[in-house]
Amino acid sequence: MDPELWGQLTIPDDGHIVRCIGDAVIRARTLDDEWEIARSYLDSHSDEDASDGSAEAQIAWTRFVTVRNDTLTLKPGLPDRPVVVRPESPIVILPGRWGRFFVSIPLWIRFVSGAAGKDTVMEEVPSTVLPSTWFGDIGTGELCYALDVPLRRDVDPVADPGVATCEVRVTNGSKERLRFERICVHAEHMRLYLADGRLWTNEVRVVFRGTDQVSQLTFRNGPPERHPSGVVVCEPRVAPESSLIKRSFTLFREITGF
């Protein structure tokens, strides 16, 4: 976790600090017993490079009343909805085989006030604006975020401080070929771990039992196997069940022609 981006902010007198995490540009300043926070996104219409003061005037500050000499800390969090990620091309896992995949999940930025020794989340914003999508049947599916970054077979060698890496192990426990073109990861059930200078989530294990069966999805408790000394940075939003049965695949049987 990059200490330059995350952690307690030290704000100069009569000024504000700027942090860029993912696509988000975060500004924070303090005035008496208030924190003032503003956020914008690099792909928005705001001109981040304007030097004539016009950009400064357009910043929309939100004021949070707290106490004098309060501390402000930026902490990472995971999305509040599941995320759907696609591989670059459809993947087929043969019967009895398994595969390991990696998902880069954009982080949420939490502004935490530390007044009176008690952490209070003042606001939470995504580091990247994620488009929404629907996963599953139109009647029984669920609302998710769509990730533009494809599903990877290996860890991204470049550690992006604005994302967490999620390892997904997919086992085909059926007697048929498992062909999928997208996978849904329930980020709201996951913990964040710090290990080896980057953020990781719980490992997710999916066992596919067959077309007519629901996939079994398990959140492995603890840090990723490859980083057993990982430290918990953020608790899950929704406590995961030990063995959560969820539909996690869209199976495209070749026989259907799709």
Binding site: V84, V129, P131, S132, T133, W134, F135, I138, G139, L143, A146
Partner: protein, 292 residues
Amino acid sequence: MVGVFRELDLDTLLDPGAIIAIVQVLFWAVVGFLVLRVLVFVIRRLLHRRTTAQVTMLVTKAVNYTGLAAIAAISLLELGVNLTPILGAAGIVGLAVGIASQASLSNVISGLFLVSEKPFAIGDVIRIGETVGVVVSIDLLSVKLRSFDNLFIRVPNEKIAGEQLTTITRFPIRRFDFSLTVPYDADLATVFSILKAIAAESTLCLREPAPIIIPLEFGDQGVKLLFGVWFEKADFVAMRTQVTTAILKRFGDAGIRLSMPRVAVYSGGTDQLFVVRPDHSATASPRIDPIE
């Protein structure tokens, strides 16, 4: 307890025993009322997380009115009032009221069906006929709506049961269909790619289900298209504004003009005609071409 009202004379009323009896009855009535309020409160809290808001409201109202009637009846009995004539009169009055209020009875029955069928809940946006609004309350006789221009609308349950009802916010996502007409000289492949790009670049359109683009028919003014995009139900106005703006801008940038009604006016004598064609540039005057 003494039947103080059996002989309504001043001596009886001023009798200390009778006064004490009246005070006792009033005391127990007040206690009963408070107990009833607590009971209603507890029932409301218990049902709050277990069932819908309308069922909670109906149950608490039923308990409240039944309890009030029981307290009143017991108090009157304790005061020595003979309830038989009152109940008899109430039966006759009830019969008369029932005959006179068949519509209300129909509304009550329709209301019970609405509660059991649960086609919508408090907070849903529904459409009944031409009326659209947010459901404020669901009562035995009627459903109260608040329209988007902040009008209070009362719709009798009987009307809801007999008409087509649309619950607009039933599902988390919706599809909105834009109707477009592009001129016959427009390149449909370009039009399709622009519409796909608009949906893909919009932050409010869902990636899945994918947008649909269907040529509907060869119309009078051009090819009629249906452009359907999915969105979260809360984003209806924002999505519509964003996509409409994007369509106009992207089509304008690509030189594609959405078709609009055009009028050709012919003028002239029997041996020579003139046709007047509208020019869409702001400064141009109508062009007149001679027709051979």
